[in-house]
Subunit: 442 residues, 2 copies
């Protein structure tokens, strides 16, 4: 999972060689931000900082990396030698994970010798982009079904192993209850959930026998999948089984429905279970779910206690990427600005100040220069100085609490799943004036 | 990159414990297939088998895995002990990577003791799904711009590290010329490409100075990014620089345009370069590209020699997932069938026969039982027997050649980017009859 220093774009290395030859290595300031919110997103939830810090603190070129660079024939020996002692020695300022944020706002600022700040571009974007993407999507599911148990079910169709693991983390951070992915549970200490697959039912000659054996194997935690053949018939089998098992002191925790009209099946299954007095058996639903389907099921008052949310959350299917960038804002003490058509950026070392309204809800943000003061509280906080952490990292639980508090402070209109009037992010006059000044100078 | 045996869904382990307690471990047959082609896809390109084979041959529970299982309190000691010697000892039949394929067709069949075949479900889907998704998307870009150099530019917004690496592989397999991702180049021996970033130009006080220093650092391979401030002005700077560098025997290989109307800029830049006799300098374009934009630029006859294709290819943005499944088809010699609404599958151990027309183009496929014969050639071939490879693995180069030949054999209507009349996949009468028989028996 830590592919090392060569997990980068070739151009980072070719630029580094040129900087090396020119002895260019003054202080550079880069910022990571999202140019524009994607369709169907009224806010983002910042995530991925923890993995960025792991990356920065562990970044070295090992002997194999340097050998490959030699063999590639693309680099000079002097440059390759200079990488032997390469370490990240810079500063990081960032929004804490779980912070609600918007377009144009830097989530992270790196201030470091040019070569260090440049080399890390590809992986820093890769890590912040994906977790922010997923946390922002997952937060919408949490808003759509605030009372339900939400479990990440998406390892299989996430884009590779790391996506499976990091989407478990990002969705938990955003308010999910846990994940089905065992390695993510282990690595990030996230609650893990699981039921059974259709193959389990099919491998047994008889559905009731499959159910019974599963309960006996997992007396604490048996959630039975009841849609392999006929959902309501299976619910009646569960009723019969429950009464038989009761004499052994065994109970069935829940049932899962994975196909068909989930709301309608849940109502019928609930009625069958309740008629038998099995009101404690919970109903769990899964299958192509996302925040839109959750909102629909909640609006119908479908008697579903929990949802397995997979593919569409893990791939952020309705908006599978963010227009995220990591741009040079200052070099050698002078602000810099890219002016490419449609991609111009606000120059300089920046900060975001946030004001809340009288009710404590998010009011408006101001994008300022880091040297300015503005009303409200600054969102970017010092995280690393000279390559060392300045504060202990928050636990994932603390980060999840922060995200929860942030979502509770969202203005009502931003909580809807539909597109709405955008949140107000002002750009300070000092930032605008700096941009004008740089444009005039070119 | 090899997160091990716990990179799986919890339910695989809970089912395994139940199978262990019941001493259920007869031969099971599972198949991986895609239920339905996503929107905008007329075919798929099978990919990911190589990584599945790596996974299956390396699969073990190490001491840490077993310790975690103990600590979790979810599993019995006897079951955990049974995993110490767990190895994959089964058979694999699969379509070679690079094969064009369609909905309902198994790309891979695993025949193994039930517990082995079940445990691997999550990661097998995770690996085959993503690479097949990307290879299928990338193949469309290759069809859209068959003459151009296509380079994977998408590490930064791919969903995590593994997605970055595997999408480089899958797009190369499908016909891309190479990747910008260094680690993918190293790991898979893929040609690597790179230019420079806007930050490189911005870090220099002067654009021409930036260009000159880059050429001097990389005399063989200098592709200059010319859209940081004003594309055509920069092209004229390139002209001046080229004539100055000529006296030192240095040449500029190409220029890159990353913003604005790429076709229009390319025409103007080409005119500026050609007017100065610099016809050998190539033009490379990037920025939000996908097969639709490529087709448009090719139709315009934009003078662009190569394209960097990133985010939209690596995330398969217009169809970010496939409806892929890995289903039990047979257990203990008896065919099995899931009948869940909208998700019913064809039962039994299956094969796909493909017929070509007189011109050598793909004609039609037939989904049969593995025991049947049908006209044409069988697509699934033996890959592994009793946990051992039966043939040497093809090189990535050979796989890429296969994909190229397969794309060349696509019927004309399937080559378009638009939705078209689907390719014909017949289901044999024996398969249909088996399905009816199983339905009647429940």
């Amino acid at each position: 999972m830590s592919p090392g220093a060569l997990l980068t774009d070739l151009y980072e290395l070719t630029m580094l060689q040129s900087y090396f030859e020119q002895a260019m290595n003054a202080t550079a300031v880069f910022e990571f931000f999202v140019r524009k919110l994607p369709p169907h997103r009224n806010f983002l939830v910042a995530a991925g900082l923890e993995q960025v810090l792991d990356y920065l603190t562990g970044l070295v070129f090992d002997a194999d990396d340097l050998r490959w660079m030699h063999r590639s024939g693309r680099f000079t020996s002097a440059f390759i030698d200079s990488l032997r002692d390469f370490r990240f020695t810079g500063d990081v300022d960032a929004m804490p994970e779980g912070t609600v944020c918007f377009a144009d706002e830097p989530l992270l600022r790196i201030t470091a010798p040019l070569r260090e700040a440049q080399l890390v571009e590809s992986r820093v974007i890769n890590l912040l982009h994906y977790q922010t993407l997923v946390a922002s999507k997952a937060a919408r599911a949490v808003l759509a079904a605030p009372e339900a148990l939400l479990v990440d079910f998406g390892l299989r169709r996430a884009h590779g192993a790391e996506a499976g693991l990091l989407s478990a983390r990002a969705s938990y951070l955003a308010g999910f209850s846990g994940t089905a992915t065992v390695e993510a549970a282990r690595r990030f200490d996230i609650p893990v959930y699981g039921t059974m697959a259709h193959s389990y039912v099919e491998a047994h000659a008889d559905e009731t026998a499959a159910f019974e054996r599963f309960v006996r194997a997992h007396p604490e935690n048996a959630v039975l999948l009841i849609d392999t053949y006929d959902t309501e018939r299976a619910a009646r089998k569960v009723v019969d089984l429950a009464s038989r098992l009761a004499s052994d002191g065994l109970t069935i925790k829940g049932v899962r429905i994975d196909s068909g009209d989930l709301g309608e099946h849940a109502r019928r299954v609930r009625a069958i279970l309740d008629a038998a007095g099995l009101t404690a058996i919970t109903i769990f639903a899964s299958g192509n779910l996302d925040e839109y389907r959750l909102a629909d099921l909640v609006a119908q008052r479908a008697p579903i206690d929990g949802f397995g949310v997979g593919t569409r959350m893990n791939t952020s299917a309705d908006a599978p990427y963010l227009d995220a960038a990591y741009k040079l804002e200052e070099y050698e003490g002078r602000a810099r600005r890219k002016r490419s058509e449609g991609k111009a950026t606000w120059p300089g070392r920046k900060q975001v100040y946030r004001r809340h309204d009288a009710a404590g809800r998010l009011g408006s943000d101001t994008l300022t220069l880091a040297s300015e003061q503005a009303p409200g509280a600054p969102l970017l906080q010092p995280v690393m100085r000279a390559g060392r952490l300045v504060t202990p990292r928050p636990t994932l639980t603390a980060t999840r609490e922060r995200a929860k508090a942030e979502l509770a402070r969202l203005p009502e209109r931003l909580r809807t799943l539909d597109d709405t009037e955008p949140y107000r992010v002002e750009v300070s006059e000092e930032v605008r004036s700096l941009a004008r000044q740089l444009d005039a100078a070119v």
